[in-house]
Symmetry: C2
Subunit: 176 residues, 2 copies
């Protein structure tokens, strides 16, 4: 299969079908490709972005999908990884904003309205809701999946489950 075809989702597919294809494609792309985490994250960001953009309302209002990873040169700090979307903040301290909270707590964060989230970091003023899922190796958070939407309450339990499945695949599949 040509690589780009993994980003093509059949028109009219359900959200469940699209997430299923995205997870399967991620697993296929990661096979024997643990050699560089960044490479895997770059392709996975593309898959997540095109999956969400192919879904019905409100998922298709995604305006950013990507990763923040542990900064190798500073403890308790995330640094921008591969993503699809507009230019973003390059470093985020643990505990700051939605990504920082997910990294610090090790817990998924589903924020229906970012403006009511204490300490929200506005990389893009258009963002209204956000979901952040930590990626772990054992108990240690090594990165987070971060997805933003221009509409409030864009993400639900189905997204949470799919992203947690992706995080579980990515954690042990890459050398961080």
């Amino acid at each position: 299969m040509v690589h780009a075809d993994a980003s093509n989702f059949t028109e009219g597919s359900t959200k469940a079908e699209i997430w299923e294809q995205a997870i399967e494609s991620t697993e296929a792309l990661l096979a024997d490709q643990r050699n560089w985490a960044e490479s895997n994250l770059a392709n996975t960001a593309s898959l997540i972005w095109h999956a969400l953009k192919s879904m019905p309302e409100p998922s298709n209002h995604t305006n950013w999908a990507g990763f923040y990873v542990l900064d190798p040169r500073a403890s308790k700090q995330l640094i921008l990884g591969p993503f699809m979307g507009k230019v973003a903040c390059q470093t985020i301290e643990f505990g700051r904003g939605v990504c920082g909270k997910a990294a610090d707590s090790g817990e998924m964060q589903l924020v229906q309205n970012v403006h009511s989230f204490p300490g929200h970091i506005a990389c893009d003023g258009e963002t209204k809701s956000e979901i952040v899922v930590p990626i772990k190796v054992g108990e240690k958070v090594v990165a987070v999946i971060d997805i933003d939407s221009t509409v409030p309450s864009a993400f639900d339990e189905e997204d949470k489950k799919a992203l947690e499945a992706l995080a579980k695949t990515l954690g042990p599949a890459c050398d961080w």
Copy 2:
């Protein structure tokens, strides 16, 4: 300035104006941010993508914009870096395809029709033309900027000059 605003280009701007803004924004984003090449490349890929998408025909037909970097674990091999677009090939040997030729020769490659380029690697069957600009530290190629378009002859001398300016900025600005 909110980070995402760097990706917004005024409607009706000329190609020259848009490239100028993209280069200035890249320089601003890279200031004091040499700490992780990948982070700089992720934001620069976003800037290049949104710049091209904001330009008149044929530049707006860009379907992939990003980076391949030297594989730290294999000599004479590139590995996928941050990008905007559909899922892409993860490794490219020096000498193979347009990216591999740019990395091997250290020379910019402007290919008006990829199907007539010997050994072209079809990550995406929709790609018709491609420009690849090496990023160097001294004489050593450390990465390449790779941009694809769905139309033939999408790139010209103006793109070449702008991308070479970006490559010159990126080379010494990042720790590779």
